[in-house]
Symmetry: D2
Subunit: 163 residues, 4 copies
């Protein structure tokens, strides 16, 4: 019941990429017909939704947890408090959407990820997303638990090498 | 906190329609650009989503409750167990989508609604949706509470007059 | 076929509000059960989607056009190029979500709206959304047509009075 | 531009499954936090949406085409005209959702797929989905093109072996 990691491990790495500590984490998304509007490009609100999905996948990769597990099994929420997004090129179903996620900033009880979405090596969007750690039931701020803190520290040292 | 009815009353009747007991309940939906796919018609999976939304609006109209209230405040779930849907004409943003909802069948612990979606007086889809009453936390079947049972009985006598 | 305004007029003003030039435009949204995640609050990516919906409603109110009409009937696109969003309080189905939209900045071929979402008079989110005018088929920049330019100029003088 | 197959091949088989002609096609879906409602199970309208996604994946697997390609590059639409769905067990993020898709019936200008969704080897839903082949622009019925017809015939002989 409380082991989402094992069961879903294959899902966290669907395209068989190899994310080593030296390379940024990439979450591939299959853009579909129904994601597009009559302009035949992805409807804008899908973009922040995909970026948020990529950040959840980042957590799965780096800490072995998803939000269902943290919220329900561990009473740990990570609500977003800020996002900013630049949309640089249309997203379509012609290519996979490769979402590169890096840890941009770690605060005491907050975390900021930078997400860049590429299709066919063209940067389609980039954004910054800040979430805070909360007691899920009380919706009050808290510090991250030890295992997530450790994952953040490891990711921080890696992303430091990439910036 | 537990009075969604008053606060949201205007929302339940956005088009100023007058649903008397003699007329079927109609829930209007504004179809938007982002609801359409590159064929410039509503993407199919939006249709069952709208039908389900119309059924929730039916509950608001007939019993003064929404699913957030029943589930969270009253531990009453109404999960769907069956749906069938015929798609007869494309749905677009050109006209309001008028979703007519009638109580089709009332079982001891289940309820079936029929939903018909019209645009510009053309029938676009029609479907049947069966839900069961459950203890929300335990996810076990139960009978509907008295106020909902009463609302169902009233609606039943009305829809009987219409069929 | 090309007159979405008349047909949908009632939809543009579902709560019966009266938006005079002196008051900001408000687009009410009914938050539902299915919009919420297991934390029982609206799932974050719904927020930018609602803000974008509110901006489309602003266009309907101020210029009598929606994006389906501008794109398909008039080959005029308005893709977003930038958004920034602060999430200040959880959004739930307990109250209507009142989205206040004002024209924040008008460029030669771009437009920035500020959207503030309130529930029960509490500010839940606020954000800024910039779109550009394009030839919808070519996806190249263009100036807005005369009627939209005129609507923007009128809205600008009004929002000036509000800031 | 018109070769979605090569570019996206890895996406069509994210879990590394091996779908031989003798085994049904399975499309895995990662259910997420945001797919669930406050009852902590997938919100019902996601189910038909996932079934439809699985059918598009079936087409990718069996005929090397997706709907963006067929509609936009080949003017071939496949709108759904009928669906029926039984919901047997809640869907959650605890396990991958394995969507098994088989060709249930091939008409002259229509096709019916049966979709069964499993989590942890428990049948969560099963449904039947009928689509028709159309001229995408005219929205008039047509016969399927040769390559899709051939793919359907092959799939038919395989699924026959399974039923």
């Amino acid at each position: 019941m409380s082991k989402p990691t094992e069961v879903l491990k294959t899902a966290a790495d669907p395209a068989g990429r190899e994310s080593s500590p030296e390379t940024p984490f990439v979450h591939p998304i299959r853009v579909r017909w129904g994601d597009c509007d009559p302009a035949a490009i992805a409807y804008t609100p899908n973009i922040p939704a995909w970026a948020v999905e990529a950040i959840e996948a980042w957590w799965e990769h780096h800490a072995g947890v998803d939000w269902y597990h943290t919220n329900i099994d561990r009473n740990l929420g990570m609500p977003f408090v800020h996002m900013t997004l630049d949309l640089r090129a249309p997203v379509t179903p012609r290519h996979m959407l490769q979402c590169e996620v890096v840890l941009a900033r770690r605060g005491r009880s907050s975390v900021t990820h930078r997400v860049q979405g590429y299709q066919n090596e063209i940067l389609c969007f980039e954004g910054s997303f800040t979430a805070v750690f909360t007691d899920a039931k009380e919706m009050t701020p808290r510090l991250p638990p030890a295992d997530l803190l450790s994952a953040l520290e490891k990711a921080e040292s890696c992303s430091g090498a990439n910036t």
